[in-house]
C-alpha cells in the first residue's frame, strides 16, 4: 500500500489526539486507534516505513512517539 497515504492517515489520527491535555492518554489513543482499526499489514508497513525513513518518514512527532511507545502491540 502507499506509504505516503498511511503516513497521512496516521498524522490525521495524531491531530485529533494531540489536543488531549493528558499526553499519555493521547499516545494511548493514537496507538489504540491504529491497533483497533488498521489491518495488520497496514500497521506493519507504517512501522517499516518509519524505520526505514527515520526523520524523513513524514509522521508527526506525536505519532512517532506513539508508534515507538506501543511498537510491540502494533507490529
Amino acid at each position: 500500500m502507499d506509504a505516503e497515504n498511511l503516513v497521512k492517515m496516521a498524522n490525521q489520527i495524531g491531530d485529533f489526539f494531540a489536543a488531549f491535555p493528558d499526553r499519555a492518554e493521547a499516545l494511548d489513543g493514537i496507538a489504540g486507534h491504529i491497533r483497533k482499526f488498521w489491518a495488520p499489514p497496514m500497521r506493519r508497513q507504517l512501522l517499516a516505513h518509519v524505520d526505514a525513513s527515520g526523520a524523513a518518514a513524514g509522521v508527526s512527532p506525536i505519532v512517532n512517539e506513539a508508534l515507538q511507545a506501543y511498537r510491540e502491540q502494533l507490529a
Partner: protein, 945 residues
C-alpha cells in the same frame, strides 16, 4: 401478513389520560378528552357517514354528511368537529338524519358523473359507498343543470391523474398537502360553484410546487386524484405490509397487489416511522423492480473485455467459488474480501459478513456506510457507548428547538421532513447549519431563526464555537452533567472550549458565520426547551466527520438534551438499511452488535456457533481494499448490492483498483457501473422479491415481505448461501427468519428480536432483549450505555483540501428529492421527469466572474479529475461554493472528489473539494472515455444474452 382496508376513524386520535364517557346509539363509550363524536362512535363500532373527514387530517366540517343529534342540544351538529363530552347522549341514525344526509348526497351526485361501472375507483370510492349508506335512490334535480362534467383532466403528473369532473371539493387533498406534507401546493380556487382544486396558481400539477408525495391521492375519497397504475390495471385484490427500500426513514407501505403484480404502494398508517405518509420515491417509484434492464440470468466472463455469457446459477456460483479459492491459494488468505449493502436486508448483510469471516477466513468485509455514516458509528460510540441515534421520529412532536446540521431532510428524508415542518409550524424554533440555503431555511410557514451558512469544511469550528458560548455564558445544565457525565472529560472539555480561540468572534473569519448569529443560535439551543439535533452527511463526509459527531454529542450532553422525548442526537441515515448493515457486523473490525473482533469472549461465541476459527485482527476497509489492489495484494471481491464505481470518491482511482483485480463478483439488479468491471454477475432481488428486515434511522426493525417471486430465481440471501456452500462452508437456512434467530442468539442487543415478534408488534426498536423486551424507543434514559457520557475535545483542523488560485471554489455534493443515491433505481422510473441530469449549482457572482449563464456547459476541475455539467445559477449557494448531485454516472461527480477522508473512519471528504469552473464546449476526456467504455460493456452484455 395480508391486510387491505384499514378502519378510518374519521378524525385523528387524541392523547389524554382524562377520559369522558358518553352514550352513542345506546352504547357506552369512553374516549380521551378532545376526541370527536365521529371517532368516539367509530371506536364504539358505529360508523357515521362522512366524506370530508378522514383520520389522517384534522376535522373540517364541510360535507355535512356526518350530522348527528345530541340530546338537549338544538340542531344537527357535525360529528367530526364536535368533541365528545361526559354524559352526552348521541344518536347517529334517525329518520331526520337520514333525510338530511340523503338531501346532501343528492346535491353531490347531481354534479358527479354516473359512470361508476367504468370508473377507476369502482369498489374503492367513498362517494359511491356513502351514497349506498344513506340510501340515495334518485336525484330529483337531474343531471342537466350547471355541472363540471366536462372539466378537462390534468395528466401532467406521471404517477397520478387529476379529474376535476369527479371532485366533490371536500378539501381533503388541500388539507393533506398542508397538514401531512407541509408543501401548501394545493388550494381551492374560486368560490361557490366555481370552487376547484388548484395546484399552485391554477397550473398543471407538474408545473406547480407539488412534490408528488401522494398525500393528496391518498386522501382523495373519489377517483379525482387517482394512481395511473390503478387506472391501467384496476383495483388490487390483496395487500401485503412491507418496508420501503429507499431512504433511512424506512416507511411502512401496503403493497397492493393483483396476484404477484404490484398495482400501487400506499403508506401504512400504522407504520411507526411514517404513520401513513410517503414521498415520491416510496409511493410511486417502484417500477424499476420490473424494468427491462433487470438482469435475471447469472453471467460469467474471464476478462472484462470479454462478452458476458449467460450460465446456470450452479455454474456461476461454482466459477466464483473456484476463482476465490484459486486467488487465495496463489495470493494468500487475505487477498479477497466482500462488501455488504445498505440496500439489502439485515439477514443478507449478516450472511455476507459471515461468509467473509467464516468462508473466506478473513475480516476483509466492509459496507457502504463507510462512505456515509461510519463517523456516526465511531463518534456516538465514543461519546455515548452505542453507535446509533437516540430518538424516534415521533419524538420531534415534543421538540422545542430543532437544530439541523448538514442535512437536507426535504430532499433526502422527505417523510421525516414533513413531521419536522409540522412541529415547526406549531411553533418550534429552528437553527440550520448548512453552507446552502436549504428548503427548511425558508419554506411555507417555516422560517429558520438562524441560518449559519458556514464555509464547507468548518463544521468542527462551528460546533466548538457553539459550545464556547454555552460554557462561557453559563448555559450548561450542570446538574445533568454532574449526574450523567464523566467528570474528568467534562473538566478537560470545558477548559478547551472556553479558550478564546474557540469563540465565535475568533472563528468568524474561518467559518464565515457572523459571531452574533452563532451566539444567538447557541443561546437558543441551550435555553429554548427541549432541543434536538438532526444531522446528515454534511456532518460525516468530512476529514473531521467523526470529530463533528463527537462535538454534536458534547452539545447535547452539556445542555442536558439526551435521554427523553423531544431531544437527542439524530443521525439521518442515507439509505434504508444503513443502520442495519452497521448493526450486522459489516465493518472489518467488529462482529454484529458493534463488538470488536479482538474480544476473545465474543469471538469464541461466534466460533462456537459458526464452527470455525475466526481472525482476531481487523480486516481491510473499502479504500484499503482499493489501495491493496493497486499494490497487488488484493485480488478478489464479492460485492452485493453496491455500486462503488459510481458512489465512491475519485472514480478513476476506484476503476484502476478494480481493473487490477482478478475476480469481481457483483450481485445486483442491473449491470451497474461496478458490474462493468466484474467477472461474475449474480442477479439480485428487489425488496419486493424477498423476506427479511430493514432497520431504519430510529433503530426500528421492520419486516420486508416477499410479494413476488425473485425474477432471477433466487433471493439475495439464497445466492449467498449457495456461494458459501460452494466455498465449502455450509450455510443452510430455510427462511430469513432463521437467520434472524441466529443473529438474536449471538447479539445481546437483538436477543429479543424475531420475525414473529416483529410481526406481532409491527416493528421493534433495538436494544430489544430481556432488559427491554418491548424494545427501546428512546436511548440513554436514566444513564448512558457506556455508563457516564464522555466529553471529547474537538480541536478544529482545517482540511488539507484548500482553495488556491488554480482551484478557487469549493465543491460540495448532495442529493435531490426525486433521485436516490446512484440513481440505479430512480433513473429507471418516471422520476427522471423531475431531474434528468445532474447540474452544477453556482452563485450568480461566481457565474458572472466566469461569463457563465444559466444552462451553459461548464467544466469542473479538481486535483483528482475533471468533468462537465450544465450550470444552474442558484441563490441557494453562497459565493465561492458550488454544488452538484451524483445520481447519473455520466455526470462524473466523483471523478472530481478526492481521496481525502475522515481521520477515524476513512469516510470520504465528499463535501469539500477545491475546484475551478469554466465555460466549455464539449464533454471532458473522462466523459468521452466513459461513453466509449460503457458502450463497449453494453455490447459485451448484449452479445452474451
Amino acid at each position: 401478513m395480508t391486510t387491505f382496508n384499514d378502519i378510518d376513524y374519521g378524525t385523528p386520535a387524541r392523547q389524554s389520560e382524562d377520559l369522558v364517557t358518553l352514550q352513542i346509539d345506546g352504547a357506552q363509550v369512553s374516549v380521551p378528552v378532545g376526541t370527536s363524536l365521529m371517532r368516539a362512535a367509530a371506536e364504539a363500532g358505529v360508523m357515521v357517514p362522512k366524506l370530508c373527514a378522514t383520520d389522517s387530517l384534522e376535522p373540517f366540517g364541510s360535507c355535512r354528511l356526518c350530522l348527528v343529534e345530541i340530546e338537549g342540544r338544538k340542531g344537527f351538529p357535525a360529528s367530526c368537529t364536535t368533541p365528545a363530552a361526559a354524559g352526552m347522549v348521541v344518536r347517529t341514525q334517525t329518520e331526520r338524519l337520514q333525510t338530511l344526509r340523503r338531501g346532501v348526497m343528492e346535491l353531490y351526485i347531481s354534479d358527479h358523473p354516473l359512470d361508476c361501472l367504468t370508473c377507476s375507483a369502482n369498489g374503492d370510492c367513498e362517494l359511491q359507498t356513502q351514497a349506498g349508506v344513506v340510501g340515495l335512490r334518485e336525484v330529483r334535480y337531474g343531471l342537466k343543470g350547471a355541472n363540471h362534467l366536462d372539466d378537462v383532466k390534468d395528466e401532467s403528473n406521471p404517477y397520478f391523474s387529476y379529474d376535476p369532473s369527479k371532485c366533490i371539493v371536500c378539501n381533503r387533498c388541500v388539507r393533506a398537502c398542508e397538514e401531512t406534507q407541509g408543501t401548501f401546493a394545493l388550494t381551492i380556487s374560486g368560490r361557490g360553484f366555481e370552487s376547484r382544486v388548484s395546484p399552485g396558481q391554477d397550473e398543471p400539477f407538474m408545473q406547480s410546487e407539488c412534490v408528488s408525495c401522494g398525500a393528496c391521492v391518498q386522501a382523495c375519497p373519489t377517483a379525482t386524484l387517482q394512481e395511473k397504475t390503478v387506472i391501467e390495471r384496476g383495483q388490487p385484490e390483496h395487500s401485503v405490509i412491507t418496508t420501503c427500500a429507499y431512504c433511512g426513514v424506512g416507511c411502512s407501505f401496503k403493497a397492493e397487489m393483483k396476484g404477484s403484480e404490484v398495482v400501487r404502494m400506499t403508506p401504512w398508517k400504522d407504520g411507526g416511522a411514517n404513520e401513513g405518509h410517503s414521498c415520491v420515491k416510496g409511493r410511486f417509484a417502484w417500477g424499476y423492480a420490473t424494468h427491462k434492464d433487470r438482469i435475471t440470468k447469472p453471467m460469467i466472463r474471464a476478462k472484462i473485455t470479454d462478452p458476458w455469457r449467460e450460465v446456470s446459477w450452479d455454474e456461476a456460483i461454482n466459477h466464483a467459488a473456484s476463482e476465490f479459492r484459486r486467488i487465495q491459494a496463489q495470493h494468500g488468505r487475505d487477498s479477497i474480501g466482500g462488501i455488504t449493502s445498505s440496500r439489502c436486508t439485515n439477514e443478507e448483510t449478516y450472511l455476507v459478513q459471515k461468509l467473509v469471516r467464516a468462508a473466506f477466513g478473513n475480516n476483509n468485509v466492509d459496507t457502504c456506510a463507510r462512505v456515509c455514516h461510519s463517523p456516526t458509528g465511531y463518534g456516538l460510540g465514543q461519546s455515548y457507548g452505542t453507535s446509533a441515534g437516540t430518538q424516534t421520529f415521533k419524538s420531534i412532536e415534543h421538540c422545542d428547538v430543532v437544530m439541523v446540521i448538514g442535512a437536507n431532510p426535504s430532499d433526502a428524508h422527505p417523510v421525516f421532513a414533513s413531521r419536522m415542518k409540522k412541529r415547526l409550524r406549531e411553533g418550534a424554533r429552528l437553527i440550520v447549519v448548512d453552507p446552502r440555503a436549504i428548503d427548511l431555511v425558508d419554506a411555507p410557514h417555516v422560517k429558520a431563526d438562524y441560518h449559519l451558512a458556514l464555509r464547507p469544511g468548518t463544521n468542527v469550528a462551528v460546533v466548538s464555537a457553539l459550545a464556547h458560548v454555552i460554557v462561557t455564558e453559563g448555559l450548561v445544565d450542570e446538574a445533568y452533567v454532574a449526574e450523567r457525565c464523566d467528570p474528568k472529560s467534562y473538566v478537560q472539555w470545558r477548559e478547551f472550549v472556553s479558550r478564546p480561540e474557540n469563540s465565535p468572534e475568533a472563528l468568524e473569519a474561518e467559518t464565515g458565520v457572523p459571531a452574533e448569529d452563532l451566539r444567538g443560535a447557541a443561546r437558543l439551543y441551550a435555553t429554548g426547551g427541549n432541543a434536538a439535533i438532526y444531522y446528515g452527511l454534511g456532518v460525516t463526509e468530512h476529514a473531521q466527520g467523526s470529530t463533528t459527531v463527537m462535538g454534536i454529542a458534547n452539545l447535547a450532553m452539556c445542555t442536558g438534551n439526551v435521554g427523553r422525548e423531544g431531544v437527542g442526537v439524530n443521525p439521518l441515515r442515507g439509505q434504508n438499511n444503513v443502520q442495519g448493515s452497521c448493526d450486522m457486523g459489516s465493518f472489518p473490525h467488529e462482529f454484529p452488535g458493534y463488538r470488536h473482533v479482538s474480544d476473545s469472549t465474543v469471538r469464541a461465541s461466534f466460533e462456537a456457533h459458526w464452527g470455525v476459527e475466526l481472525q482476531a485482527e481487523p480486516g481491510l476497509r473499502i479504500p484499503n481494499m482499493f489501495e491493496a489492489s493497486l499494490a497487488g495484494s488484493f485480488k478478489g471481491l464479492y460485492c452485493q448490492g453496491e455500486d462503488i464505481v459510481q458512489s465512491d470518491p475519485n472514480t478513476q482511482h476506484v476503476a484502476a483498483a478494480l481493473e487490477a483485480m482478478e475476480c469481481i463478483v457483483v450481485q445486483d439488479l442491473f449491470l451497474n457501473e461496478t458490474a462493468k468491471y466484474a467477472h461474475v454477475f449474480l442477479p439480485g432481488s428487489s425488496f419486493l422479491e424477498k423476506d427479511g428486515t430493514f432497520t431504519n434511522a430510529e433503530r426500528r426493525i421492520s419486516l420486508v415481505r416477499k410479494v413476488m417471486p425473485p425474477l432471477g430465481g433466487l433471493a439475495d440471501w439464497e445466492a449467498t448461501c449457495r456461494l458459501s456452500n460452494a466455498l465449502g462452508y455450509p450455510m443452510n437456512y430455510a427462511h430469513p427468519s432463521e437467520i434472524m434467530d441466529e443473529i438474536a442468539a449471538l447479539t445481546p442487543t437483538f436477543s429479543g428480536v424475531s420475525f414473529a415478534r416483529i410481526e406481532a408488534r409491527g416493528s421493534l426498536q433495538w436494544p430489544c432483549n430481556d432488559a427491554a423486551p418491548e424494545g427501546t424507543p428512546i436511548m440513554h434514559v436514566g444513564g448512558f450505555v457506556r455508563g457516564k457520557g464522555r466529553f471529547l475535545i474537538t480541536q478544529y483542523v482545517p482540511s488539507t483540501e484548500k482553495v488556491t488560485r488554480k482551484y478557487p471554489l469549493l465543491l460540495t455534493t448532495g442529493r435531490i428529492l426525486s433521485q436516490y443515491n446512484v440513481g440505479a433505481q430512480t433513473r429507471r422510473t418516471p422520476n427522471n421527469q423531475w431531474h434528468s441530469e445532474d447540474v452544477l449549482e453556482i452563485h450568480a457572482v461566481d457565474a458572472e466572474d466566469r461569463g457563465i449563464r444559466d444552462g451553459d456547459w461548464v467544466g469542473i476541475e479538481s486535483r483528482a479529475g475533471d468533468t462537465v455539467l450544465r450550470a444552474r445559477i442558484s441563490e441557494r449557494m453562497q459565493p465561492g461554493v458550488v454544488y452538484t448531485t451524483f445520481h447519473f454516472p455520466e455526470s462524473g461527480a466523483n471523478v472530481i472528489t478526492t481521496d481525502n477522508s475522515d481521520w477515524a473512519t476513512n469516510c470520504p471528504e465528499y463535501k469539500v473539494t477545491a475546484v475551478q469552473v469554466a465555460r466549455v464546449l464539449q464533454p471532458s476526456g473522462w466523459q468521452r472515455e466513459y461513453k466509449r467504455f460503457s458502450e463497449q460493456q453494453e455490447e459485451l452484455l448484449n452479445h452474451g444474452r
